[in-house]
Amino acid sequence: MTQRGDGRADGIALCAGEADGELLRLDEPLSFWGGTDLATGVITDVHHPQCGASLAGRVVVMSASRGSSSSSSVLAEQIRSGVAPAAMLLATRDAIVVLGALAAAEVYDVRMPILLTDAAGIPRSGRVRVSAGEDSGVVLWDGCGTSAAV
């Protein structure tokens, strides 16, 4: 049940898992391979608007990844070493991102939830909880966040 003043966005689960963290909204698609630092999770793509931001532990909102499919390996490695996003909220069924999370789940039993969801109503910043089951999932936040749709 949603509490009064709280925010909620539903989505389709692309990868099951539970996580919470600070939102990080990416204004453009990102290639994990060549666009992020393997060891730290910091965005290194100089053309990216959020270059310099760290993905580590964040609930990353982005439309899609872009570029090389080697991004799956980079994401899996970042999940292994603990510098990956805590969760991802995508606007597309991005197989490259999902595969990185699935591989890490197989090998390390670490589950990074990935949701397909409309990010328009989700705040631009603040702390959220992401809960993804087999089919569906939800993003929850308290009422203090500023809606990105404003």
Binding site: G11, I12, C15, L102, A103
Partner: protein, 423 residues
């Protein structure tokens, strides 16, 4: 919201998933099935071959994944080729990775060979024998291999990448989705290239610049290029176009009217009525070259890099032709190719003049992926749009894009030599 698709598995799929075919097959099948749900596929289909890109070392996770498959007894179930690795096994010491990373990269290569894949170590599996036939379903990974298989060979592969490539090879099954579906292969955008003079389209670099534009314009859409004389088209040029379009955009399939297999089969029915159309001009092509050129062309030049994607036998022939005119290279000239093509080039006597002029050959890997060029190299000239796209970020090297003739002239002169008539 719920997942709308209903994936129907065969009894054999279920047997693989449940572990009846072994735990390694089950692990691979879990990932194939999960991806089928993500891509809303209603069933899985057989593939005739696979090309694995996961053999390039990106860290411990990729190695742990491959070794887990091996440990669980998985084997590839279809003919499977391997993409470039992080090492050149024929020229030990050429790649300057630290001992620990070299050892891990080697273990990763060994794991994929242990799974039963062929140690081809090339991003251009389409240059070696047993290429897929038009209309067949395959599971190929690596963006340039994918776009070549779809566009030039007319085979059908979705955009497979790390992990799924190996799982498809082990299970022999992929989701029926994306470019496996004929309806997804029909062009939605026409790119009119009739402004491009035939003599400009005589260089691979011009096709790379065209690919850069196509990628920018179409993103991930399927396009059809019109107004190109089929006499101007060859596989090296389509390779250059596809590899660059897959870098600057997400192109996994393009057609060239009158030239590529599906466009030829469609005949006058393509471009389909009512699709959007855009024009590419000669000025745009030169602007694309200039955008891919990150270095000042009057800056000092330190090296030349050829063979991204891997240099073909016909590219060795084109280079040998340019070397008939004598002249040593005063700059290092690096050529990345596959072992198989290198062997053929050697047998045909194409390497002697090249090696005498001072060129250096790299196999099994590529100069934009791992440190091979000297640390002191700041600026490199290349025919490759893909190299130009990735090397500045990957290697910290600035790039000049040029034709093969411009690269040879520059390697001899020790500075950038342009031939504006080629553009």
């Amino acid at each position: 919201m719920t997942v709308a698709s209903t994936l129907v598995l065969t009894a054999e799929d279920e047997a693989k998933l449940s572990g009846e075919r072994g735990p390694g097959v089950a692990m691979a099948m879990r990932i194939v099935v999960a991806l089928a749900r993500v891509s809303e596929a209603t069933k899985l289909i057989d593939v005739e071959s696979a090309h694995i890109d996961s053999c390039l070392y990106h860290g411990q996770a990729g190695l742990d994944f491959a070794e887990k498959l091996v440990r669980l007894g998985a084997r590839v179930s279809v003919p499977t080729t391997l993409n470039v690795s992080s090492l050149d096994l024929m020229h030990p010491g050429l790649v300057r990775l630290d001992a620990e990373e070299s050892a891990a990269a080697r273990r990763l290569m060994d794991a994929y060979v242990a799974l039963g894949a062929r140690p081809t170590w090339t991003c251009a599996p389409y240059q070696i024998e047993s290429r897929p036939e038009a209309g067949t379903d395959v599971a190929w990974a690596e963006s340039n291999a994918i776009v070549f298989a779809n566009s030039v060979l007319g085979a059908r592969t979705a955009r497979y990448g790390d992990f799924l490539d190996a799982c498809a090879a082990v299970t022999g099954r992929v989701p029926l989705a994306g470019l496996h579906l004929p309806a997804e292969r029909v062009p939605t955008l026409a790119v009119d290239c009739s402004d491009l003079p035939a003599h400009v389209l005589e260089s691979e670099a011009a096709w790379a610049a065209l690919g850069f534009l196509v990628g920018r314009i179409v993103g991930e859409e399927v396009s059809i290029l019109t107004g190109i004389n089929p006499a101007s088209v060859d596989e090296d040029r389509l390779k250059a176009l596809g590899a660059t379009a897959a870098s600057s955009g997400g192109v996994a399939l393009f057609h060239v009217a009158g030239s590529t297999p599906e466009a030829r089969a469609a005949g006058s029915a393509w471009p389909p009525d009512g699709i959007r159309s855009t024009v590419v001009t000669r000025e745009m092509l030169t602007a694309a070259r200039n955008e891919l050129t990150t270095a000042a062309t009057d800056a000092s030049l330190d090296a030349v890099s050829l063979g991204t994607p891997h240099f073909s036998l016909t590219e060795f022939e084109k280079l040998a032709e340019l070397l008939r005119e004598p002249g040593d290279f005063v700059l290092p000239v690096w050529i990345s190719t596959s072992r198989a093509v290198l062997q053929q080039a050697r047998e045909r006597g194409l390497l002697e003049a090249l090696e005498a002029a001072g060129a250096r050959i790299v196999v099994d890997t590529c100069t934009y992926l791992v440190p091979i060029l000297a640390d002191s190299v700041r600026t490199t000239m290349t025919t490759s749009g893909k190299w130009a796209w990735y090397a500045p970020a990957n290697m910290g090297i600035q790039v000049v894009l040029g034709t093969l003739a411009e690269c040879v002239a520059s390697a001899r002169a020790g500075r950038v030599i342009r031939d504006d008539s080629a553009w």
